[in-house]
């Protein structure tokens, strides 16, 4: 049954990515450092080809003895993750070249992390979930510490590694309890056992809490967010861009498929946990970012806040809610990549700067860069009619429909508070006096192109959110057949 062709056709994108990574690794090892530009470009292309393979042709079903599942939701999420990783690799070249840390292993480790994300998105069994998650996490620990001559990067790597291991332990402990009380690790077995009356066992609920805690760490939801600001600040900026996008989307997709799949019968139990995590994430994302001076740290808190909104969509537990989650994540990815592409262009006398105050007077020296940042910030703040507003609107509508009135109101209030620090950046760019020397004129390159395309996409989504919303609807249908 293992030689069955359906295994290979369903997992075709993953197999392609694994094979491409292995070949490029061998090429890189044989050629040495000269191979870096080629390996980097080829890895990005391989990631994009993998994304295309997801839909050409699109097939769904389960493979490898039901350990692996493909449906509309997983395919859409994988496509987002792949595009995010490919762009993150392209965006990293200039930074690493300047830091003299441009090595061919970097794109390959990112590709392996992406492979891990794809596997965890497609997990249909607790064991498959764990191996996918570990593949992803281990690769991410390595790239967090990639700039090994920098103390902050090494510190970020160590912190991420230690705390990530604790999260993995919690996840494993929860999984073992669930395995013990449900008699199986496959999602089908778990939902079957829960429907058969195992749902009242206290052991199952404790297991569920631990699994959710482990996953909440990976999406950096409060109260498991502590690592986020330090790791985002310490890691090299292109790595932070990757962290803010791909692993978040993958872990969120995993959380959705675990909660809406095997644990559907325990909806009442997990809804409370997710609502609390959501409300606190939104609040912390809003208040803690107010006093941040470092823009990477600020984006870390912003990402915690955004995770709160997404969790609110998950907590509604409806088809509308999942649709809103997919929609929000897609827009969040575009906005975040745009912001980080702009941050990567922030140089003064060819040295990277990352303080908010460094942006002062940007509107006069680099009006286009300031305009791009303005669009991203307004969109992140959720000011109508920009794309970020539609994302939040869908989330709140789904929450209200699920009768989560109080969390929805708190979410709106949090987004009002959060708009303060997004608008502060706009104020600094447009109204503050430059502190002397202005930011360098950004060089032509990938970052400029990414920022431009991201700003353009936000404009498109703002005027016509319908097509994206239809894609999100189709994806959400994957969970509600």
């Amino acid at each position: 049954m293992i030689v069955g062709l359906e295994n290979w056709t369903l997992a075709r994108p993953e197999l392609f990515l694994a094979a491409a990574t292995a070949l490029l690794l061998i090429y890189g090892v044989v050629r040495g450092e000269i191979a870096t530009p080629f390996v980097s470009a080829a890895t990005s292309v391989a990631l994009l080809v993998t994304a295309a393979l997801l839909f050409l042709p699109y097939r769904e079903g389960t493979a490898f003895s039901s350990l692996f599942i493909v449906d509309r939701l997983t395919a859409t999420m994988k496509a987002l993750v792949l595009v995010g990783s490919a762009l993150a690799i392209l965006m990293s070249r200039a930074y690493f070249e300047q830091a003299r840390a441009w090595r061919f292993e970097y794109p390959l480790v990112v590709a392996l992390a992406t492979l891990g994300m794809m596997l965890m998105i497609s997990a249909n069994d607790l064991m498959a979930l764990y191996v996918g998650l570990e593949l992803q996490s281990l690769a991410l620990y390595v790239i967090a510490a990639f700039q090994r001559d920098s103390v902050r990067s090494t510190e970020a790597g160590i912190k991420y590694f230690v705390l990530g291991s604790v999260a993995s332990c919690m996840l494993l402990f929860g999984s073992s309890l669930i395995y013990g009380f449900c008699g199986g690790t496959a999602f089908v077995q778990i939902s079957g056992a829960l429907a058969d009356g195992r749902a009242t066992e206290i052991g199952v609920i404790i297991g569920l809490v631990f699994v959710v805690a482990g996953l909440a760490f990976k999406v950096s939801a409060v109260p498991f967010h502590m690592w986020t600001p330090d790791v985002y600040e310490g890691a090299p900026t292109p790595v932070t861009a990757l962290f803010a996008v791909a692993p978040k989307i993958a872990a969120m997709s995993l959380l959705v498929s675990v909660l809406m799949g095997p644990f559907k019968p325990l909806f009442a139990q997990w809804q409370q946990i997710i609502v609390v995590a959501s409300v606190f994430s939104m609040a912390l994302g809003a208040f803690a970012a107010l006093r941040q001076q470092n823009i990477k740290r600020l984006m870390a808190y912003s990402s915690i806040g955004n995770v709160g909104y997404v969790l609110l969509g998950v907590a509604s537990g409806s088809e509308k809610g999942i649709q809103a989650v997919v929609f929000y994540l897609a827009i969040y990815m575009v906005m975040t990549l745009g912001v980080f592409a702009t941050i990567l262009m922030m140089k003064r006398r060819n040295i990277m700067v990352e303080q908010v105050s460094d942006l002062a007077g940007l509107a006069r020296s680099q009006p286009m860069m300031a305009l791009g940042m303005l669009i991203f910030m307004f969109s992140l703040a959720g000011i109508p009619p920009l794309a970020g507003f539609w994302g939040k609107l869908y989330i709140f509508m789904a929450a209200v429909e699920a009768k989560l009135f109080v969390p929805a109101v708190l979410g709106v209030l949090a987004s009002v508070v959060a708009s303060y620090y997004y608008l502060r950046i706009v104020k600094v760019m447009y109204f503050d006096e430059p502190p002397g020397e202005a930011i360098d004129r950004p060089a032509f390159g990938v970052n400029r192109a990414v920022a431009l395309v991201a700003a353009f996409l936000i404009a498109v989504f703002s005027l016509a959110p319908q097509p994206l919303s239809l894609i999100a609807e189709a994806a959400a249908k994957g969970l509600f057949p």
Binding site: I2, L67, A113, A128, L138, A139, F181, G183, G203
Partner: protein, 204 residues
């Protein structure tokens, strides 16, 4: 049966004694060696209950890798034992408490105290089936068929670990003289020897 019971008590006694010696021993190298002895005896205990796969894994992984790693660490680092033992009395009550709790849990789990009321689903149903064949064979049957996917992904995880270890630690140091076997073997007489005419009484 008597022979088995006798073997059990011998192995169990050595395990407990060597575990105690790990803590009590004054020389850290002896501690590690006692740890290895404890691992071997635990492996023998696993063999007695018919879990030969776990027994072999215990020997290969714990003795072969973990304990040897400990031994390296102990011998590489200059550990001052008196310093390590300084806080012993201070931490003893907490340690004893945790030990007592763990021991009570163990007794509860085995069912000596109270009655095991929690049922674990599916355990009894699978039990009889698994005992029919030896467990290495049972693991082998599913590892490369049903769990083939997990096995392959575990391989990828190890690949990432290997790349990561190399990327984060390997650096090229310019000033190091390495052995270059090829160059050394193919060195010709002209490259290696210079003939110098030394004038009488002049020195080199």
């Amino acid at each position: 049966m008597i022979l088995q019971a006798l073997a059990f008590y011998v192995f169990a006694a050595i395990t407990v004694a060597s575990a105690a010696m790990v803590v009590v021993s004054r020389n850290p190298v002896y501690s590690v060696l006692f740890l290895i002895l404890a691992f071997f005896n635990a492996a023998a205990l696993f063999l007695l209950i018919g879990a030969e796969f776990i027994a072999m894994i215990l020997v290969i992984v714990y003795v072969g890798a973990v304990a040897v790693l400990f031994l390296f660490v102990v011998m590489m680092l200059d550990i001052n034992l008196t310093e390590l033992r300084e806080g012993f009395l201070e931490y003893f009550p907490v340690g004893a408490l945790i030990g007592a709790v763990l021991f009570a849990e163990l007794l509860l789990g085995v069912g000596i105290i109270g009655s095991g009321s929690t049922t674990v689903a599916g355990l009894n149903a699978h039990g009889a089936q698994v005992m029919a064949i030896d467990n290495t064979r049972a693991i082998g049957r599913v590892l490369y068929t049903q769990y083939f996917y997990l096995f392959q992904v575990a391989g990828l995880v190890l690949l990432v670990a290997m790349i990561g270890a190399i990327v984060l630690t390997l650096r090229s140091r310019p000033g190091v003289r390495r052995q270059k076997a090829g160059e050394q073997i193919y060195r010709s007489k002209e490259q290696a020897i210079t003939v110098v005419k030394v004038p009488t009484g002049g020195g080199v």
